[in-house]
């Protein structure tokens, strides 16, 4: 009852408050209260006034530049050491040295964000309004409802309006009237937003004390029906989507690990600088893009295609130089190789920083790789992800053909299996070593081109992949392309299917722990080489 009255009071306030009504200075002071509940109440009241100063005040509170002076009687905003009055916006001169801004915790910050979103609904920019409307769906501040209702009435953009109506419904779920709540729960059936599903599941679930979160039976039924409808509508889409993202992550892992499978699997060289070859490949793409923009703007869309051979050649040459200059002195000493190549990776990272700066550089998707196919539920399958899956399979096929169907490949396999015998029959083993390492590095360069299309390109790009790609090779088993492929796609899928259940970081940790446990069980990986080389 009280809440309805409050709502009414808010509504009345909008009707009668003249446009020039200033904010009451006393309404700002509770923001400094010690009790977080009082502070939240103050935020909600301020938001409901919809005064133009409120956005500034809350923004200042959020970034911790709001504070009290005059023994807590006046709220001021401090920016660059200058104070302005929070309520009137008048400049007040330099801030005193003793000034201490108010601190906010995560709960308050969430509240402020929702309030700011509500205030942004009046923005003339449709994209801003859309983002604000989305942000509101997670809020539990029912006091924002009048603002949202107002916004719905004024809204002209159909997309924003749809989102707003759902936001209004999820806010209305906090209404004290069960009939309104039931209607709101039924309205939510139209939403495809994952947050809406969380809200609905919370409604039908029981709290820790065994009582239902939602006391009214009708509301629960309505929520249950809506939930079932949403789940039915989205089930196959989401399974398909998880499979697709798993495949996509798997193909990225494959591209990152394939070169490593060649250098480590076939040659037994631990190349900790492998990630940096990915980075060099990505930077070669960046340079190719620059060349095309400068000299061939007409063919700009095809710069990625030209970047492929360029990246392969650059990384292969650097790889061969590394093998001839450094690594061949360390054959038979894998731990030393590991440390040396780690040193090389540091050198390459720092060289990249010196040449291109420590910031990320911008690599643009060509037109035919931007955008994607929209599917139901507001999900989009991006073209660049599809292209990378296809590309990974093409690279895999090429490597497989090279190793299994060419004369060079025969030499590579021969040297792997029995170096002395291969040498006796006239195989130039040193040249084969160099070429194999060049091939592995070149494939990493190709991977770098692909990575440049989906993520940030910076000096640390390779570091992010080094642990993952070693895990793929270790799990797949040394010397086996098939093992690498299965490990890459398997790990990608597991990670993506775990993600919705546990969050991305936890999924990654679980995958790592799984690999560590798996290796205990099968130290040789999924596909072990039989015979003597298994004891490497």
């Amino acid at each position: 009852m009280f809440q309805t009255l409050r709502l009414l009071a808010f509504a009345l306030a909008f009707l009668v408050a003249p446009a020039w009504a200033a904010l009451d200075p006393a309404s700002v002071l509770p923001l400094a209260d010690e009790d977080p509940d009082v502070r939240i109440e103050a935020i909600r009241k301020l938001t409901a006034t919809q005064e133009p100063r409120v956005a500034d005040i809350l923004g200042a509170l959020s970034n911790e530049s709001l504070g009290l002076i005059d023994d807590g009687r006046r709220a001021v905003i401090v920016a660059d050491g200058r104070m302005t009055d929070a309520v009137t916006g008048a400049a007040l001169g330099a801030a005193p040295a003793s000034f201490e801004p108010l601190m906010v915790n995560n709960r308050l910050r969430g509240e402020i964000d929702a309030a700011l979103a509500a205030l942004k609904l009046a923005s003339p920019d449709a994209a801003t309004r859309l983002a604000a409307a989305r942000a509101l769906q997670g809020s539990d501040n029912e006091g924002l409802l009048p603002i949202v209702q107002q916004a719905i009435d004024k809204e002209t953009d159909p997309e924003v309006k749809g989102v707003l109506e759902l936001s209004a419904a999820s806010l209305a779920l906090r209404n004290p009237d069960p009939a309104l709540r039931a209607k709101a729960a039924a309205d939510l059936a139209r939403s495809n937003d994952p947050q809406v599903r969380q809200v609905l599941s919370a409604l039908v679930g029981k709290g820790s004390d065994g009582t239902y979160a939602e006391p009214d039976e009708r509301v629960r039924t309505a929520a249950q029906l809506s939930l079932a409808e949403i789940n039915r509508r989205l089930f196959s889409t989401e399974i398909g989507l998880a499979a697709f993202t798993g495949l996509s992550l798997g193909s990225i892992l494959l591209l990152a690990a394939l070169g490593l499978a060649i250098t480590y699997g076939l040659m037994g060289i631990i190349n900790m600088a492998h990630g940096e070859f990915l980075m060099i490949g990505a930077y070669t793409t960046y340079l190719t893009q620059g060349v095309f923009r400068q000299y061939l703007p007409a063919a700009f869309d095809w710069y990625v295609v030209a970047a492929l051979p360029a990246a392969f050649i650059v990384t292969a040459v650097i790889g061969m130089a590394l093998e001839r200059g450094v690594l061949r002195w360390l054959y038979g000493r894998p731990l030393e190789t590991l440390l040396t190549t780690w040193g090389v990776s540091l050198l390459l990272i720092q060289a990249c920083r010196s040449l291109f700066g420590a910031q990320n550089v911008e690599v643009e998707n060509p037109a035919w790789l931007s955008g994607g196919i929209a599917i139901s539920g507001g999900y989009v399958i991006p073209f660049n992800r599809i292209a990378i899956i296809v590309f990974a399979l093409l690279v895999l096929a090429a490597v497989w053909l090279l190793i299994n169907r060419t004369r060079t490949g025969l030499f590579v396999r021969g040297v792997t299996q029995n170096r002395a015998m291969a040498s006796c029959t006239g195989v130039p083993t040193h040249r084969v070593d160099m070429l194999t390492f060049g091939l592995g590095s070149g494939v990493a360069g190709l991977g770098g081109v692909a990575l440049s299309q989906i993520g940030n390109v910076g000096p640390d790009l390779g570091q992010a992949y080094i642990v993952d790609s070693f895990m793929v090779v270790v799990l797949g088993g040394v010397g086996q392309l098939a093992g690498t492929v299965i490990a890459a796609f398997g790990l990608g899928s597991i990670a993506k299917f775990l993600e919705p259940l546990s969050g991305a970081v936890l999924a990654k940790i679980m995958v790592l722990v799984f690999i560590i446990l798996f290796i205990q069980k099968r130290p040789q990986g999924l596909f072990a080489l039989k015979g003597r080389s298994a004891e490497a």
């Binding site: 038979g332 590991l338 090389v344 050198l347 990272i349 205990q520 069980k521």
Partner: protein, 377 residues
């Protein structure tokens, strides 16, 4: 049976101990700051930090230089010891934090109402000491038990330990873990009720680190001159042959691996109050690999070598990051490449070679034979 130390070495150890325990603290505390011989707090903290690093390098040497197991996760045990003691330091802040709450600030920030169960008892100094030893020790014991049982060795072991520390780093970055997430622990106020920034406390921590380093050196020397030490070296050089002779090599490996983890953990616990912060960055794979290079630069298979290596590399790092920050990674990278290519026995090996070439002096017997070449396929 080799002697623990020659009389000359004992003299050197006691001389170093006297410098660390008496001379430097006196120069720091008793002399006014204007005095030319005054040792500033900067140097005390820096040397204290380096001595903690040196113990980790020594632990690394025990498992890598003597036993041939290259751990790329030693930083994890160091950080865990640091976190265990950091929990105690966080509790000692009491109500002096930004939020004036009994809970550590980051928990207030996350709107937590009470301490998670694993924080129970961390306000007790003794329990903190138990955790410092037990957490790294038990983790190493469990991990080592499974890894050595399934005969994971060589680079496989290295890569798996790297994955372990990487996974732990990701976990500690999460706020939900209850260890301060990204920011870790900092803003420590006191130990045992005494202010942590006072010159006396700084000196006490410095002296403790110094004594710990010397103690670790004596223990390490005792291990490598014992029968177990010989078995460990044999594991490094020819593990299969040793197994055929009937030694249960995995038990030896497990023991030394756990000892090394505990050594590193205690070093971490001494390190954190001196630098005043611990965060998940300490667990990054790069940090652990750097520990390996300390040992390699100093000389694997010798005990003094890694200690010198830790001082040399970190001294260079301190100098470079102030004078030429952009050149530091070049230097470190080159160090990795050049030391493995041209100085496989490190500075200690170089010194031995030089000494052997001097006319009229026999080659030093103290230095181990060239580091074993692992046999591949």
């Amino acid at each position: 049976m080799t002697r623990l130390f020659t009389p000359k070495a004992w003299t050197a150890i006691f001389a170093v101990a006297a410098v660390l325990v008496v001379l430097l603290p006196t120069l720091h505390l008793a002399l006014p700051e204007s005095h030319p011989l005054h040792v500033s707090s900067f140097w005390i903290t820096l040397l204290g930090k380096f001595m903690c690093y040196a113990v980790v390098a020594l632990a690394m040497d025990l498992i890598w230089g003597y036993t041939g197991i290259l751990s790329l996760g030693q930083g994890l045990f160091f950080a865990l010891g640091g976190y265990a003691f950091g929990m105690y330091l966080m509790r000692q802040i009491g109500r002096d934090g930004v939020y004036k709450s009994d809970l550590p600030d980051f928990m207030v920030f996350l709107d937590w109402k009470e301490l998670p169960w694993y924080w129970v008892g961390t306000d007790s100094f003794l329990w903190a000491l138990v955790l410092v030893v037990a957490v790294p020790g038990l983790l190493a014991l469990a991990f080592g038990f499974f890894a050595f049982r399934s005969r994971i060795k060589g680079v496989y072991f290295s890569i798996i330990t790297q994955a372990l520390t990487y996974a732990a780093m990701l976990a500690f970055f999460r706020n939900d873990m209850g260890f301060g997430g990204n920011n870790g622990f900092t803003d420590f106020k006191r130990i045992l009720g005494m202010p942590i920034t006072s010159p006396e406390m700084r000196t006490a921590l410095f002296v403790l680190s110094g004594l710990y380093l010397l103690g670790a050196l004596v223990v390490a020397r005792w291990i490598v001159t014992s029968k177990m030490g010989r078995v460990l070296t044999a594991i490094r050089d020819q593990e299969s042959r040793l197994m055929f002779l009937g030694y249960r090599t995995r038990s030896y490996k497990l023991v030394i691996w756990t000892i090394a983890a505990v050594m590193s953990g205690i070093a971490g616990a001494l390190y954190v109050p001196q630098v005043g912060i611990i965060n998940p960055g300490e667990m990054s794979p790069a940090n652990s690999i750097e520990i390996a290079i300390w040992a390699a630069v100093g000389g694997r298979g010798t005990l003094v070598g890694p200690i010198l290596g830790a001082f040399a590399v970190n001294g260079a790092k301190t100098w470079f990051t102030v004078a030429y920050p952009e050149l530091w990674l070049y230097f470190l990278g080159l160090l990795f490449v050049l030391v493995t290519l041209f100085l496989p026995r490190g500075l200690a090996g170089l010194a031995a070679t030089v000494r052997a070439r001097l006319p009229g002096r026999p080659a030093a017997k103290d230095v181990q034979a060239p580091v074993a070449q692992e046999v591949v396929s």
